[in-house]
Symmetry: C3
Subunit: 334 residues, 3 copies
Amino acid sequence: MQAQLSLAQLAARCGGEIVGNPNLLITGVASLASAQAGELSFFSGASVQQLAATTAGAVILAKDDPGADQVPATVAKWLVAGAPRTYFAHAIEQLYPPAAPAVSGVSPAANIHPQAEIAAEVAIDAGAVVAAGAQIGNGCTLHAGVIIGRDCKIAAGCVLYPRVVLYPRVVLGENCTLHAGVVIGADGFGYTDNSAGGIDKVRQLGSVRIGNEVEIGANSAIDCGTLDDTIIGDHVKIDNLVQIGHNVTIGENSIICGQTGIAGSCRIGKYCVLGGKVGIADHIEIGDGVRVAGASNVTHHVKAGETVSSILPAMPIRQWRRLIVNLRRQKTTK
Amino acid sequence: MQAQLSLAQLAARCGGEIVGNPNLLITGVASLASAQAGELSFFSGASVQQLAATTAGAVILAKDDPGADQVPATVAKWLVAGAPRTYFAHAIEQLYPPAAPAVSGVSPAANIHPQAEIAAEVAIDAGAVVAAGAQIGNGCTLHAGVIIGRDCKIAAGCVLYPRVVLYPRVVLGENCTLHAGVVIGADGFGYTDNSAGGIDKVRQLGSVRIGNEVEIGANSAIDCGTLDDTIIGDHVKIDNLVQIGHNVTIGENSIICGQTGIAGSCRIGKYCVLGGKVGIADHIEIGDGVRVAGASNVTHHVKAGETVSSILPAMPIRQWRRLIVNLRRQKTTK
Amino acid sequence: MQAQLSLAQLAARCGGEIVGNPNLLITGVASLASAQAGELSFFSGASVQQLAATTAGAVILAKDDPGADQVPATVAKWLVAGAPRTYFAHAIEQLYPPAAPAVSGVSPAANIHPQAEIAAEVAIDAGAVVAAGAQIGNGCTLHAGVIIGRDCKIAAGCVLYPRVVLYPRVVLGENCTLHAGVVIGADGFGYTDNSAGGIDKVRQLGSVRIGNEVEIGANSAIDCGTLDDTIIGDHVKIDNLVQIGHNVTIGENSIICGQTGIAGSCRIGKYCVLGGKVGIADHIEIGDGVRVAGASNVTHHVKAGETVSSILPAMPIRQWRRLIVNLRRQKTTK
């Protein structure tokens, strides 16, 4: 399942220079600690001991990395101008071309509405359901059990893993990857008090528009907009079990880590990084390039470029008990 | 997809009075900032500038709202006695009757056990599976891939979006809406230490009973009870990715926002509001009308009517670092 | 659905001695407060009033429990040497043998690739999809809509509830239970900056190996490893909506409660207990037997046997406001 490439061929495609045997055939990739002869690894400065002891065939290093002296003489060095991890990722792309989908064409056990428009070259597996008016672009893969609502538009090259659900009218840009269990376009959580002391649902009329090259992790959910659409920009990367409320907009190239929740009507800028388990209150505006530390909760607008945090790190239980006692004392005496 | 109604017709059905052209045909709804001629919007006091600049056809306002003076002369005013947002929601109900389901009747690609009882008028889409002994009431829609376990009872008018799973014996009241990926009745998380130093599973024998008019968001999970049932009261609204443990009871009209988790055996009162990302420890009792601020963790019982919080709001990273240093200092010196 | 056993028969199988009528036929199990004549309950010391008022047929108690004096004379006592709840769990196993699966054999509405290897005695329900090269062991149940990727290996006795998804090459040990909506083996969240100021995906080449007797709750997600596999040890119990990142290893017999998230490359020891809503930062090492209080966030390594916490318990809103004011004041004046 892997291309046969020499170190020199890899460097020709990805950049950098080889010190050692350029004809070494790379048979795989692995971490520094577990790589064997013939395998490629990389060094990012984490553990010089691991580097000195590696049995890898070749290691990618930054060309000015002083650790280069520690590489065993039998190990080829691939010296690069940028982050070794980036070169490593690019080498993997060369060595492991993406697997062909498990099916090609439309499985007879899929359920395609006659009024859906399916491009010529697609892979649609058993149990997938495509409703009327939906458009599936060329090169798309719908894995088993994917469900596409009415009038959805899926551009070319998208991969939808098993059991992804798109509600009606969702728009996906090119080359998006949605992992298993993702739900796009369910109703936003909108209610209004009624005169009987109860609550009435506010109908959610919008949908969700997702840009190009977006990736969304397993079992995450993005709600439809109330009136307008919820919007996810190009190149946004969203991890597992993330909740994105109605009317949110997220700027291009932002990264949202696992279990983060963004309440309704927030505007998140471009190139932001939200750590895992972050909470953003509704209607918050977050500028471009903002970083929010994991497990922090944002209740005020954040200006472009700022880094914010409210994580309280876990501590031994006795220290924590004293801390809570002190906090309570402050509350009552001041 | 939208009814043609004049302003006067809407006011006749929903209440309030029209100042301006009562015969204006409403062609859609939109936010103040984006509404065009012929479209209806509403003003809740948020931005008088937006109100003054709106190009909507008509705007709903509270009849004593001083902002009414700011409405452009070309825009009709619909003055109401209550919250404009509530009237707006009711107008939407008039203008956008619910879409007919994508299918009517039972899809030949659904899988209905011969011993299931299916009412005469239902919509069951491809890939749905209904087990023996299950009852599906009149007017129910089971979207594609919905899976109904043995002996479940689903009352009239329920809508189950794609891939909802009900474990055996779950009971749903009338007019419930369950969004895609919801799981009801999976085993509660119950274990007991065994004599070998390990843990044994405690079999979970109960199920889940859900009242009328309950809505549950995408990918949320409600566990079955250990002995008795987990119980969700009438009109409860639950957002996405919420976890509700075994033996919990939630009183009617309570609202649970996204990513909140309620551990086993809690009792939540009526008319409570739990914000997003709230955590409730096991066996906690929360009275009627309690409000829990988002991202707060409840470890003690809360009396009826109280509002509680423990959210720590995110701050610039340097302030946060000082805060952590100060908290640590307190821990060690006192 | 329940075996007819007398108290004496139960004690013979589970241990302990009967004080009262040993021939009492047990017709069910229930909590102390709701048990009726013929039903078995247990007392763990929680509420002596409930014990004194119980109408159960029999109650399990620790043999040295002073509460034994409070048991009504009409109620049989089953005195045990260990935790009553453990005996109660074992009695339930005797009284309620596991239900036979809803199907036996392979449903004609399942979709099994001809190159999958299916053991002789399995139950595979409608809509399940098994890809080429997958192996399904004897005694396994794949409920409706389960999707098994290429080359997965599922050992004997596993139960996969509706809509579980296994990505390719996932390995499950014996007698695992995966609840509805679980996703195993989706891509880890790995990206690297590219020279254009954007981000490139790092291909995720590993898979997930899961030991014996593991249980995983509804809609939880475990990502594949980047190079090596993500590893879950024997007897690990994972609750609902849990996120486990790429390259994580979890030692045997550890317990992970609902909505907890473990970021990439963490190593969690054996016999750990992580409460609900816990967050563990990436690359953290947690020793054997560690306990993390619910809603705590771990950002440093934790040594074996420690208990750590950072939960801030919710308090009345006015106290909370004072607390926040005090914390802010500290930040600015010190």
